[in-house]
Structures are given as C-alpha cells and as structure tokens.
Symmetry: C2
Subunit: 334 residues, 2 copies
DNA sequence: CTGAAAGCGCTTACAG
DNA sequence: CTGAAAGCGCTTACAG
C-alpha cells in the first residue's frame, strides 16, 4: 500500500527535470508531445502517480470533498445519497471525507475537524427534507445542501420536487378513474408534508374532486398510518388513498385488513418513498413514488465540484429534483 | 473555512521557535510546562490548529482511514457500520475517507485512488456476511474486514456471531414452550444461512426436538419466505417458525394470513435483522435478533486504529460479535 | 519547450 | 528544555 517512487525518480528515468514531470501530469505548463510520452512511459514503468497529499500542500485544491450526513444510519436511503455523490466525485478524481452528525447539532466538533482537513467544499445531507441552520464554521459559498435549505436560501441546495411527486401520485389515482381519493399524512409541519398536501389538494380541485385529508400527530410510521386511516374510515368511504409515505401506507394496509377491505379490489393505495424491503415486500406490492435520492447526491456533487472549479455559471439557489412513479399492484382501475 | 494562521505565527506570538510549538502540539519532545502554557494560549488566541495535510507530509501517519463499502445503498444497515466506525475514528482525531464499490469488483480503480491518498489502514465492509477475495492492492496487514473473511483467514475480520444469534432465537421459542419449531431459510450457500441453520438444528437436538427446515432457492426476501412457508405448511403444522431473516418472516406473516393463522395466537415467529421500518412496522411487531452492525463498525475501527498504532497485542483472526434479542409481539407462550 | 529554485506547513534528527 | 536546519513530494513563478 503506497510505494516509494516519487516525481524525482520519474524525472531521472525520463531524463527531464521534475518541473517537466509536474507539468506533464498537471497539464498546466507546455510540454512537447514526445517529452510527455517519455514521462508517462517512465511513470508507468515505475508505477508512479502524483502524491495527492503533497499536491494539496502547494495547490489551492485538495481533491477532497467533505460529506456531512445527518443520522446516516437512521434512514435506509441516506446511503443512496452517499452513493450518488461518491460516484460523480470519484469520476473527477476527487475523494469524499465523511462524518456523521446528529440532527440539529451544528456545534459538533467533528465539523471543524473536517474543515481542518482543508476539504475543497462540503456537502451537507439532512436526514429528511427540512430547513436547517448552517453551522457557523461552514462557508455558505462552499457548501451544498441536500434535502435541506436555509431560511435565507443563501446556500445552494438540492431537494426533492415534492409538488411534482405528489401530483404524480394523485394523478395516477385520478387517471385510473377514482373519485373519492383521500390523503393521509402527518401534522408535523415539514416541507414534505406541507407541499405534498398542497399538491394533492390542487390536483383534486383541478379534477373537480373534493380533497379529504386526515393527518396523524404521530411521526411518520405504520402506526401513524393506522391512526389516520382508522379515523378516515370512520367518516368516509374512499376508493383510493394517497399516503404521505410508504410507512403510512403500511398502516393503511393494516387497517384495510382489519376492515375486510381488499387492496386493490376495494381500495387503491399509493405511497411515496419506494422504501427498500417495504414497498416491494408488502402484499400486494405498493405503487409508490421513488424519491430521487441517488440523483440528489449526484447533483450535489456536481454543484460542489463546480464550486471548486469556480465555474461562472454554476447553480444557485434551490434545485428541485423530480421523482418517478414505481407501479406495482396496489392500484386498480375504478 | 480555513484561516491562514500557521505554526510560525504561534511561535512568534509565544516567543519560541516553531520546533517548540511543534513539540508542544505533538507531545513528542520535551517542553516545560510554562512554555506549553504560553504556546497553547497563543494558539488559542490565534485560532491555530496544526494542518493535518502538512503533518501528513512528514509523519508516517496521515490521520485518515479508508472505508470501502460494498453497495452502501443496497442494505439499510450498511449505514450503521459506517456510523459505528466513524464515531470511534473521530474520537481519535482520525477521519474516514469513503468509497463505494460493487460486490466482487476487486479491480475497481477507486481502490488504488483511495490508497494513493495514503490512508493509514482500510476497513472493507461487505454487503452481507460472506467470503471475499482481497483485492491485490490492499495490504492484508493493514486491512480489516467487516461482515467478511478471506479463504485463508489472513486478514483480521469482524463478523456477526451467527451461532449465538440463531441460538438466541431458537431458545426463545423453546423456552416459551414450543415443541414444533420449524426453520425457514434460503438455499444459497452463505455463512449466515449455513451457520444459523446448524445452530438451529443443534439447539433443537439439545432440547430433544426434531428439526424441520424448509429452504427457498430465491434470494432472501418476503417472496422466499412465502415460498418456503407455503411448502412447510403443506407438510407440517408447526407452532413456531424461526426465520432466517426478517424479510423471510414477512413472507411467513403473509402465508399465515392466507391460511387464517393468527400470529402469535396460532403461530409464533422470530426473525433475524431487526430491519428498520419492517420489524417494528409489521403487525404484530416482530420479535427478532438484532444484528450488531454498529458494534461491528466500532470494533473494526478500533482494530484499524490499533494497526496504525502498531499495538503489539492487537486483534488477529476473526472476531465474532454477539447480537441480541429484540422482543415484540410475535411470540406467545405455548 | 525546459529547468533551477523557492516554498507549501509542518516534523525530526541533531546540537546546544 | 530549546532552536536552527533539512526535508516530506510536490507546484509555481521566473528565467532561459
């Protein structure tokens, strides 16, 4: 792991100065084609590649992006954000240095520690779509937010397009002939529940249908879904339900079972998340909207890289990424 | 992000040489207590901390561990391994540099790229408990495996204690009065299914009970659980099932429902994984064995750090970490 | 197009 | 206990 050959050996073997070797590798100076050839050949023979640490000593760029993840272990899809970011970053010869912090812990000592490593920019991924206060030590101009935005919107951020995703779900139900489409959600005031609900209501109104929403005060979970669905069925007889999340949808499945309602025979259900091992494992398979986590990670990395390169036309403000419908067996034509 | 104060400014402000400042911070040389005080005071006033990149230039240690994760996004708990490793690493002032590779892609160019960053050691986390071939470029003496081991066992590795975990599950069922306890699992020959099955059979035999195992040729999934459970119930009338995984257990729930069997009234079920949003969301809540992912990540990091420190008594071979039972509502006294 | 030299911010023998 | 000096492996003006 790590051999001892340096720029000096390459210079010597190819009969040029280390300056020229440096030029050849960085592509910065002028080097004749024949010299380039000889240098690269010598480098190949010697198994040389420039030491990124030494490089970082002199150059502005360090070749490393910081990745701050809130509660990386909590949600199953945080890994997808990491994966997306990691793949584009590595294509550009960059590395990801990663730390895990708790939600709302902007004074975590790990953050200065990460910054001390002279990362070129940082990606901050929130645990779920929400407003965050950027820790003081983070430079707003060298940070990109994922699934998050600041009150003043002064930090570039990439978020899911809640409106588009919810509209996709509701329209699926409308297009499939349903009239009595209810929405179950949570009361906690986050952008996701707020925007999805608004999009649901708008889509219903556009179709000349009456919106019916039941919200649970519990956190997004199967239990919250049971809570809201139970109350919903006491008052109404919907033919379809648009659930805020797959977890709520699971609760709907459970209540439907208790009530002797078959899915999709008596009740169609659409969720949001496409949660692994849930949406596909449930019976019948849940039709749901896939959140674009990997894509968000990818975009965040691209933006971070454009910050490092100081691209003039780089993304500003908030970019909303679209999700897409994953059709399984929980929706039936009415 | 990053201020321009260096060791020189601190030396000047505290009236000593940079050598002394370096000694004070590294704790390596001899520095009088009063000098130390002055140095640290000056450093605090200036907001100085040693540049890890410059440090890495001269010292053997770089303060960074590599973390190679197979399919970080695939399984929900890979994040727990990362989280465990990250937390111990950061307590020791180290950072984690992370890449994501596919299973069986030992020639991924990202690995040399990671090594080129001169990481002090690397943690390699497999997607699931299995045998791996270590990529050639990885030094067996500076690598620690998580959820994996090599054919020759020449790399330190930390794995879950499959036998202990399966025994915990089966004994729970035995202690609770069950006699007809079946095991459903998968045929694919991995250490997890092999060792859990063996432990199940041993525990049954010890209790004077007859083991009954049905295995599905499908990948671990609810569908595989349905497949194995359906066949099981054609031939037998078990009062309890020990499922290889929570996902198989989900399939058991589904088959029980079809058959009009209530859980836990007619059938007790125990799984393995404690898969988030599944084990706790299913109705009734699934009693299952928690895999020690976070603990495995933690241990791997501790071992990696002991390698960096060249501890004489550092862990060798394979360390098996125990899991624990998470009791919910799927088991009833018989 | 090529190279000698300074220097990035530290650590590490070594001398005092 | 303290400090002057060399050097880690590169990059970057600058001169030729």
């Amino acid at each position: 792991m790590g051999n001892g050959v340096g720029i000096r050996e390459v210079a010597q073997r190819s009969g040029v100065s280390i300056t020229t070797v440096s030029h050849a590798f960085s592509g910065r100076g002028q080097v004749s084609e024949s010299t380039r050839q000889r240098v690269f050949e010598a480098a190949r023979d010697l198994g040389y590649s420039p030491d990124p640490v030494a490089r970082a000593m002199r150059s502005a760029s360090r070749g490393v992006l910081g990745f701050i993840s809130e509660e990386v272990a909590t949600l199953p899809y945080s890994g997808e954000i990491v994966r997306g970011a990691q793949s584009v970053v590595s294509q550009h010869g960059f590395m990801l240095m990663m730390i895990n912090v708790e939600e709302h812990s902007s004074d975590d000592p790990q953050i200065p520690q990460l910054l001390a490593q002279r990362v070129d920019a940082v990606i901050y991924a929130a645990a779920h779509h929400r407003e965050v206060i950027l820790p003081d030590c983070l430079d707003p101009d060298r940070t990109v937010l994922v699934d998050a935005f600041t009150p003043t919107q002064n930090v570039v951020s990439v978020v899911p397009n809640e409106t588009q995703m919810a509209t996709l779900a509701v329209n699926k139900l409308i297009d499939t002939g349903h009239k009595r489409i209810a929405h179950i959600t949570v009361t906690s005031p986050n952008p996701a529940s707020r925007e999805r609900r608004r999009a649901y209501e708008a889509a219903m109104l556009r179709a000349g249908l009456e919106p019916i929403t039941y919200a649970s005060e519990l956190d997004s979970s199967a239990e919250a879904g049971r809570d809201a669905a139970t109350r919903l069925f006491e008052d109404h007889k919907p033919s379809a339900i648009f659930a805020f999340s797959d977890r709520l949808a699971m609760g709907v499945y459970q209540v439907a079972r208790e009530l002797g309602l078959s899915i999709p025979g008596d009740l169609s259900v659409v969720g949001v998340d496409n949660m692994p091992f849930v949406a596909d494992a449930v019976l019948p398979g849940l039709t749901t909207v896939q959140l674009p986590h990997e894509e968000m990670g990818r975009r965040a990395a691209e933006i971070a890289l454009s910050i490092v390169r100081r691209d003039a036309d780089r993304q500003q403000g908030t970019e909303a990424i679209k999700g897409w419908l994953v059709e399984r067996d929980s929706v039936k034509h009415q």
